[in-house]
Symmetry: C2
Subunit: 424 residues, 2 copies
């Protein structure tokens, strides 16, 4: 009888269900207030404008929209993307662009293009779990660089040390994966100095940078900083930064459209890779979003979305300050954009174990450990502030604070020596 | 300075642009009559019904359609797929189904799930080029089984021999890839006996079968035969057949929706793989096609499409009989379904070289050699009959016949010994 274990690839045998997805199922019980997902607020979706745009596609060129399209992407959409990026100061030609089936496909393409089994990617520790999964699915590995709220981005001293050690050990390192704008999961935004320092590091060591920018336009406080992609254009313009963008957080995720910006020879390779992955991005969606973009309404929409998220983020921070135990070892980030904030709890609290107590109290978060490739921290959690409404935010944070307070009380009451071992 | 060649994966360094895609570009010059593409006829697209279905999505549940969806696929669409397959005698539950971003994504998932670098897939020689590309993109290899018009499917004697030899040589063979209904590129439809024999072979050797059925419903002559997926259900129901389907050839390709049928444990693994590939299939497209399917109009649409293609296929065969040189070594398949027929020319004609002469005469085909993993035949070509209209078919075949006749005349006039070496 067929033994599937012997037929699956190493990669498939290593596949584990995403902790986040499993949590999401758990948290779909009706009464749970979930801060676990990464969903944009549906009340930001411009339903009627999108309906009108869809109907314009049916009015003008339905047979093109319903047919196969080119792998590179719809030229009208590319023209709109070029305008959109130009407003942010990014210079692009059509050959610098590949339209993709949203960001996750772009994340899947990077290891396909650059990793042989056993090759390494430098990434934050923690970093976006979907990027880790994609890297693992090509039997790639992650060289983690400490990334903490005290530090606006990579710890550069550790980056130099760990990179030098990895090179000495003969590890093949192919690219650096970063999310400089409102990182998932921490919400941290890198300073200009750190962005420049990473670019300089990549130049010096001949490394590519894959800059993932799904939240870049979702800045609701402070000043926009140049992307590393832009910094390369302004510096030596080597074209060694690949920038990944998506409409999922600034328009709608359901249309599954994103774009990759890179120099033409890399785009050409990506086109070949995409041919074998899905032939072309949804043609109807591309023409549909191009019609919407032509109205120019996306700039107001982004402003509206940022207003919405600023209010919710402020309210969540306010509720955390109001309800959480006040302690030096219980802190959270205060992001200037994006969808998430990151809470660090006392070291002895294991959020993996605590999630079940939280769900029993009808509140959910994502366990911090999900965002580490190895050596996870267990005392952190990610909260999403874009999806819940303010009433849910207050009640949810109250419930969460109660669970955390109970953990602290149990620890303080318990016998010494029973704390969670450091570094587990 | 960054040397990309040293950073690309082995896979990426091996990537070559698809011959077909490059040909398609060549053939997009306005006056060329192209039989090269694999496009469905746009006059079969039910534009107004699809517009109405899209508007019903906006009327009923737009915020769901514009949000992220589950990786498994929309439940309403799955319910419609179950009904659609049930009419053909296939028994399915929702756990047997994964909605995918059309067939090419399914083809990309198979090597991701089953192949480690160097592992083998058994496939027809020739077979669909997109499947070969996907296998190569995971550094997999193809064990080709001769597949000729004289034989309705694999040459079973060769299958046994080559499989035994490969096993003896220690090759790890993971699955058998077949297109039993109107194979791409040959148009061949396997007999019931051959389907049963392959299932028996797979049972006996503990191999999975990946059955690719994009054209299954596009049968315009003869009687529908059970799929190998169905034959397994009727036989020992081991669940060792994975069946790949798509709406691209029976509704529209632009919506990029297909589905995989398999036993639940395989579907569960595929769900995890898809999480890291694109999170979920286009949510709007899924709900949109579900709305269209609810009207029940797809059955008439398929009948209409089959009528359309039967007429064009008959006309193309008629024109071939009228214009092509009459010779024992110049033959073509007469498919009972699908989109393609396959022409075998005298052995000394190299269709790779001839394509440039054909394009000069303003007609295009796909070179047969594109459909081989190794040891390509060079005297064949694939013609598509679904896209061109009848007038174009007549003129195009006239032009093609002229090019072929010139090749034969040049050979007959030329000095002996200058023929194309066999097996090159």
């Amino acid at each position: 009888m067929l033994n599937l274990e012997s037929i699956y690839s190493k990669n498939a045998n290593n596949m584990r269900k995403s902790v986040i997805r499993e949590l999401l199922k758990l948290t779909q019980q009706p009464e749970i207030i979930s801060f676990a997902g990464g969903l944009p607020a549906p009340d930001t979706f411009p339903v009627e404008e999108l309906r009108a745009a869809a109907n314009r596609v049916f009015d003008t060129n339905p047979k093109k929209a319903l047919q196969y399209g080119t792998t590179e992407g719809d030229l009208d959409l590319k023209a709109e993307l070029i305008k959109f990026e130009e407003r942010q100061g990014v210079k692009l030609g059509p050959d610098n662009l590949l339209v993709v089936s949203a960001s996750q496909q772009a994340l899947d393409m990077m290891p396909k293009l650059f990793l042989d089994p056993g090759d390494y990617v430098i990434a934050g520790s923690p970093t976006y779990v979907g990027a880790i999964q994609a890297i693992q699915s090509y039997q790639g590995r992650v060289l983690g660089i400490p990334f903490s709220p005290e530090n606006d981005g990579f710890d550069l001293v550790e980056l130099e040390k760990r990179y030098a050690r990895a090179k000495r050990d003969g590890k093949r390192i192919k690219y650096i994966y970063v999310i400089p704008d409102f990182q998932n999961p921490t919400g941290i935004c890198w300073s200009l100095e750190k962005r420049k320092a990473l670019l300089e590091f990549s130049y010096r060591n001949d490394l590519l940078i894959v800059e993932d920018s799904p939240y870049r336009e979702v800045r609701f406080l402070g000043e926009t900083l140049p992307s590393i992609y832009q910094l390369d254009q302004q510096a030596e313009n080597r074209g060694t930064v690949i920038n990944l963008k998506t409409f999922s957080k600034i328009l709608v995720p359901g249309a599954r459209v994103g774009w990759i910006m890179a120099r033409p020879d890399i785009i050409a390779k990506l086109v070949i890779a995409k041919q074998a992955m899905d032939l072309c991005t949804n043609v109807f969606s591309q023409m549909w979003l191009a019609e919407y973009l032509k109205t120019g309404k996306i700039y107001d929409l982004i402003k509206h979305t940022c207003d919405n998220y600023r209010e919710k983020r402020n309210y969540m921070v306010e509720m955390l300050e109001k309800y959480m135990p006040k302690r030096f070892d219980l802190t959270w980030t205060k992001p200037e954009g994006g969808l998430f904030l990151w809470i660090s709890l006392p070291k002895y609290i294991d959020t993996d174990a605590m999630i079940h107590k939280a769900v029993a109290e009808k509140v959910a978060y994502v366990v911090g450990s999900a965002f580490y490739f190895d050596e996870p921290e267990h005392n952190c959690m990610r909260l999403n502030f874009s999806y819940a409404n303010k009433e849910q935010i207050e009640v949810g944070i109250q419930r969460l604070a109660k669970v955390v307070a109970a953990e602290i009380a149990a620890h303080d009451a318990g016998p010494r020596g029973q704390t969670h071992p450091e570094g587990l």
